[in-house]
């Protein structure tokens, strides 16, 4: 198989979505990036690490989304001087991923200008690379002072800085925002993330592959189903395990329930951030009802650990279908009522409209993805573009908007809630009979697999490499990618020219993950 504009033989991986892999040379690495860019493709993820047992030298990996599907390119690097051609000229979204690669794997881009560490804040030595093979993890590092981070300074008459975080004034995750402002107007925002980095990718390699779905489900707690599914898809694809149909439908049911739970929470919080407390009270009530039924029917309010390698742990009995369907109808009615109130509320719309705008052109240039991307006319939804079972039978209607402001992101959420409610009813009506789980046998040979799932925030991607049966650590490398990587830098653009008090509203309208990004 070859794709247009890129003359390299690709190997198709066994996965429910179209995914190809190739080991490439330096020239092909560049050609691949150029072909993806010219063909209207996107950079999905970029990561590095040590190679497999049969090829121990370090590698750089990139995943592109092209028309035909997903392209995983792997570039073996020189042991002594592990450098690779910079992807920044092709995809601006590569910037932070490349800095993270340098921190975690010690591989560098050729001629990279921004050498500031991204995830390493000085708490562990700069010459310790947790994802490089052969580097044993030391027992403990001495407490180290955090390194002063050189933020980009904005100069000019009356410009001053506002520093926020890492501990924020609410019940949210930690991160640092540095605003350069004149009066109330924001000239520039620079983020510093990485505070919740807890070494997930290294931890992954220490776990039994069959149990590691627990850790994958805790990369970002609000997307636990999406992450667990993506990891399991990767493991199942590496192990050639056929998942029973009923299990796939159950996964889709839980994924849509997760999407609705998050959208309900966000819609309430967005009303609240525009001083409309009524919205928060109503939507948080709906969310609580929703979570309680999840606990009753599926055993966990957030549905953690329900998706496992080979299938799912939870089943829906015949008697449960009725309450779940009825809840969908009730929530649909209430959401429609609240949608009308939001739409007609002049004060709310005044705060929402034209605030935090990302034009479709900017979104395309910077690679804005997922829900926020769809609100800026980036018509991308894995459930439609490369529908894997059971989505191939459900005909998902993608919600998009052109305005790219807070109002557009609110509108997309309303549309997606109603669409997911429709999907859940379809799933409940069409749930195939059969087993819930297929026993997964790990392959004897080294192998690789990929998971790619449309979570509520955007596409979750997992690239997994297993070593052969003789090695103690079966997971050689597991890269977990959150759509927040693409969207955080775009938030820096969305705030430009807005006033400081609108930042919480704009930030919430994206609702990006810190933990999923920091890993």
């Amino acid at each position: 198989m070859k794709i247009s504009g890129f003359d390299v033989e690709l190997q198709r991986l066994m996965a429910p979505v179209p995914i190809w892999h190739a080991r490439v040379s330096v020239d092909e690495w560049r050609a691949g990036a150029a072909a993806a860019r010219e063909g209207g493709g996107r950079l999905l993820a970029m990561w590095g690490g040590a190679g497999l047992a049969d090829a121990p030298q370090p590698v750089a990996c990139a995943a592109y989304v092209v028309l035909e599907g997903l392209l995983w390119l792997e570039l073996p690097l020189d042991d002594e001087q592990p450098t690779y051609p910079d992807l920044l000229p092709f995809f601006p979204a590569a910037a932070r991923m490349q800095r993270a690669c340098a921190d975690l794997s010690g591989i560098l881009t050729k001629g990279s200008k921004d050498l500031r560490p991204w995830l390493n804040h000085g708490a562990w030595p700069l010459d310790y690379f947790p994802l490089r093979d052969g580097v044993a993890a030391p027992g403990a590092f001495a407490d180290a002072a955090l390194v002063n981070y050189p933020f980009v300074r904005v100069e000019g008459d009356g410009v001053h800085e506002i520093a926020v975080g890492p501990v924020h004034a609410g019940i949210i995750e930690p991160g640092h925002f540095r605003f350069s402002v004149v009066g109330e107007k924001v000239l520039r925002l620079e983020q510093r993330l990485g505070y919740t980095h807890k070494g997930i990718e290294q931890r992954m390699t220490q776990l039994d592959p069959l149990l590691a779905s627990r850790l994958a489900g805790r990369v970002s707690g609000d997307s636990t189903v999406a992450y667990a599914w993506a990891y399991c898809m990767a493991l199942e694809s590496a192990s050639a395990c056929a998942v029973p149909a009923r299990a796939l439908w159950m996964r889709a049911l839980m994924l849509e329930r997760e999407r609705i739970a998050n959208h309900l929470g966000d819609l309430g919080a967005l009303g609240n951030d525009a001083a409309f407390a009524f919205g928060l009270a109503q939507f948080s009530r709906l969310r609580e009802d929703w979570l309680r039924l999840s606990e009753e029917m599926l055993g966990h309010r957030l549905m953690m650990d329900c998706v496992v390698p080979g299938g799912v742990t939870q089943d829906i009995q015949g008697a449960h279908i009725d309450p779940l369907t009825r809840q969908c109808d009730a929530v649909a009615r209430e959401v429609q009522t609240l949608h009308a109130i939001y739409e007609e509320h002049a004060g709310l719309q005044d705060r929402f409209m034209t605030t935090g705008c990302v034009t479709p052109a900017l979104a395309a240039q910077l690679g804005l993805t997922g829900l926020a991307g769809r609100a800026s006319a980036q018509a991308l939804d894995l459930r439609c573009d490369h529908a894997a079972a059971p989505y191939d039978l459900l005909q998902v209607k993608m919600a998009t908007h052109r305005n790219g402001d807070v109002a557009a992101r609110v509108s997309v959420r309303f549309d997606e809630v109603l669409e997911s409610l429709r999907l859940i009813k379809l799933i409940l009506a069409g749930l195939p009979v059969g087993p819930l789980r297929q026993e997964l046998v790990l392959p004897a040979q080294p192998s690789r697999g990929v998971g790619w799932v449309e979570g509520w925030r955007g596409e979750i991607f997992v690239a997994l490499e297993l070593s052969d049966a003789s090695s103690e650590q079966r997971i050689r490398r597991c890269h977990l990618h959150d759509p927040s990587w693409q969207n955080w830098p775009v938030l820096e653009h969305a705030i430009i020219g807005n006033i400081v008090p609108d930042f919480p509203l704009i930030n919430k309208s994206f609702n990006l993950s810190y933990s999923g990004h920091d890993l």
Binding site: F141, V167, G170, T196, F278
Partner: protein
């Protein structure tokens, strides 16, 4: 517009549920506790949350305490923006090394009696993340902890029970 809002409010009524039982407490335990909170801490209980590296699961459930069912503010418990206004520190997550300084500084900024409750399995024992080059594990490895609330994530009622238990243990 205002009629639509009023109608929606009236239709749904009051959903607040009674506060949870904390152990072998009798029916008036909560009332007594509230009186104690009031007598000892002043007006009410002010809490500052620090996410020291969690996956955000615990934050979702702590946020849920504000919904009409649990109505935590109705019990006289309020989440505040500054640690200097807080009686209690709620900490989630394994403490990432990148958050150690921020957590310690927040703890130092809290006035006495500096109550600390670690929420979630990660805060209790490091959880699935454990200790590594990037994670210090349990919260008590970094600051003193009065009470732990296990669970992954603990449901809102358990968190509320933990908050009330910590107050009773240290104050009463």
């Amino acid at each position: 517009m205002i009629w639509k809002i009023a109608k929606q409010i009236a239709k749904n009524g009051i959903r607040t549920e009674p506060a949870p039982d904390i152990g072998e407490a009798v029916a008036n335990e909560i009332g007594r506790l509230q009186a104690e909170v009031l007598a000892i801490l002043g007006q009410s209980l002010a809490i500052r949350l620090v996410d020291a590296g969690s996956c955000n699961g615990c934050e979702l459930e702590i946020n849920a305490l504000g919904n009409p069912y649990y109505n935590i503010e109705g019990l006289g418990i309020k989440f505040v923006a500054s640690p200097r206004h807080a009686d209690m520190l709620l900490v989630t997550g394994p403490v990432s090394r990148n958050m150690v300084t921020a957590l310690k500084r927040t703890y130092e900024a809290i006035p006495e009696p500096k109550l600390v409750v670690a929420v979630g399995d990660c805060g209790c024992d490091g959880g699935i993340f454990g200790e590594s080059y990037a994670s210090c594990g349990r919260v008590s490895n970094v600051i003193p902890v009065d009470w732990v609330v296990p669970g992954c994530p603990p449901p809102p009622l358990e968190i509320l029970r933990g908050i009330l238990s910590a107050v009773r243990r240290r104050i009463v």
